[in-house]
């Protein structure tokens, strides 16, 4: 009780106020840096695993991958991408032979931005797989873009030239046509459009087939 009365009686000096805040900030800073340092390795590994799992999923037959940064007109392996620098992932089989690219793309969907990753085999000019990384599409309808196995399987061999077209369910005939999802046409078309736009953007950046970057073994490769 005496402490409270004393506190009320005399206003503390501004030095004391500044000091209190500084001490509070210091302690909180130490605590935050502590937890950050403690969790960072787990978080980094988790993220790397997640990315690797997605890449392996969209590129069948791939067991190893590396990030390729597009800089000054060529793809560089083993480079830290700067902010806003475009990145693709190269997929390689057990022997280190190049299989295809996993290319990230994003664009407006029905509700919010859809982020996805698709596998592209440059030698055959085909999309070989697609995985939705983030979306907030309507549950039960739009979320079929990643829950509908038939739709996802439709991306396993899809020609990207001239462009992918989503057609009414059961009517796909040509190599570049895919059955849209009943009840989620807009989301399905959004996915197709994102892939088409990303493909156009990357078309001229990728080296000609056969000249893909070699797999560079990172020091801490598993």
């Amino acid at each position: 009780m005496s402490a409270t009365t004393r506190k009320n009686a005399a206003a503390p000096s501004s030095l004391r106020l500044v000091l209190t805040l500084a001490v509070a900030g210091l302690i909180s800073g130490v605590a935050i840096i502590g937890i950050y340092e403690a969790t960072l390795p787990t978080i980094t590994t988790n993220k790397a695993h997640e990315l690797q799992a997605a890449v392996l999923k969209v590129l069948p037959g791939v067991s190893r991958m590396q990030a390729l940064v597009f800089r000054d007109g060529e793809l560089l392996a083993n480079t830290e991408p700067a902010k806003d620098e475009p990145v693709v992932y190269g997929g390689y089989d057990d022997g280190g032979t190049f299989v295809g690219y996993a290319i990230p793309g994003a664009g407006p969907g029905f509700q919010d931005t859809i982020g996805l990753l698709y596998g592209y085999a440059p030698d055959r000019n085909l999309v070989v797989g697609m995985e939705i990384l983030e979306s907030r599409e309507t549950p039960g309808l739009g979320d079929k873009i990643y829950k509908d196995a038939e739709w996802v399987a439709g991306f396993e061999a899809l020609a990207v030239e001239p462009e992918i077209v989503a057609v009414k369910k059961g009517t796909s005939a040509a190599d570049n046509e895919i059955d849209a999802i009943t009840g989620a046409t807009i989301s399905a078309k959004a996915v197709v459009r994102i892939i088409n736009e990303t493909h156009v953007a990357w078309q001229d950046r990728l080296p000609p087939p056969g000249a893909e970057p070699e797999l560079v073994e990172a020091e801490d490769a598993p």
Binding site: P12, T20, I27, S28, I32, I35, T42, N46, P139, L141
Partner: protein, 214 residues
């Protein structure tokens, strides 16, 4: 006596002054994550950790925190706990963290947490403050869980991902969409109002009967 007091602080948060259903506080980021029971519980637990931790610290340090900068100190303490919770969830359960996403840092902006520090923890000893925090956070968790469970059962026909109804059940998708959050909370509050009204009527009846018997 002492035990009674602590028990009182605990119970008031769970039921009588339930932060969500009675005080209608701290809903801001919370309705967004209650579209399934598991998300609701994860959010509830994170809030529990933050509220109990910061109540304890604020109450123990209350002698040293000058009145003029108390709010800033509370916020620094709360933000530290939230950052700790954020990184811990990200490291341990990345899947849940992805679902809750940006709403974990928003725990800081939960008016209920700052409100408890200002109204209770900064005035009472640590033991009572912790009991109060546990009660409030418990009540909050309960509210989140009931919202999440109702919305998941109606909107997805499942609880914790386990199907409850046969294949014929047509889910009310609207319930897991944002409008469902508003509607569910509105209806629950309606129920609480009704309950209070009935209780008041009942107490009036009792009083009436007592007067009559005199």
């Amino acid at each position: 006596m002492k035990r009674n007091e602590a028990y009182n602080e605990f119970v008031k948060g769970i039921w009588r002054d339930n932060p969500v259903f009675v005080q209608v506080l701290g809903m801001c980021p919370m309705l967004a994550v209650t579209n399934s029971a598991i998300n609701a519980i994860a959010m509830g637990m994170a809030t529990f950790f933050v509220l109990v931790g910061s109540s304890f610290l604020v109450s123990s340090l209350r002698q040293w925190i000058p009145k003029q900068v108390r709010i800033s100190c509370f916020i620094i303490i709360i933000a530290t706990f939230v950052t700790v919770a954020d990184y811990t969830l990200l490291a341990l359960v990345p899947a849940v963290h992805k679902e809750l996403g940006a709403f974990i840092p928003l725990i800081v902006a939960n008016c209920m947490i700052l409100g408890r520090q200002e109204a209770f923890a900064s005035r009472y000893p640590a033991k009572l403050a912790v009991m109060d925090a546990i009660g409030m956070a418990g009540g909050f968790m309960l509210a989140l869980f009931s919202l999440g469970a109702i919305r998941e059962i109606l909107g997805d026909g499942a609880l914790f991902g386990v199907r409850l109804f046969g294949a014929d059940f047509e889910p009310w998708v609207i319930m897991i969409l944002p409008p469902g959050g508003f509607l569910t909370l509105g209806v629950i509050l309606l129920f609480f109002n009704w309950f209070r009204q009935k209780k008041d009527e009942f107490l009036d009846d009792v009083a009436e009967a007592q007067r009559g018997s005199d």
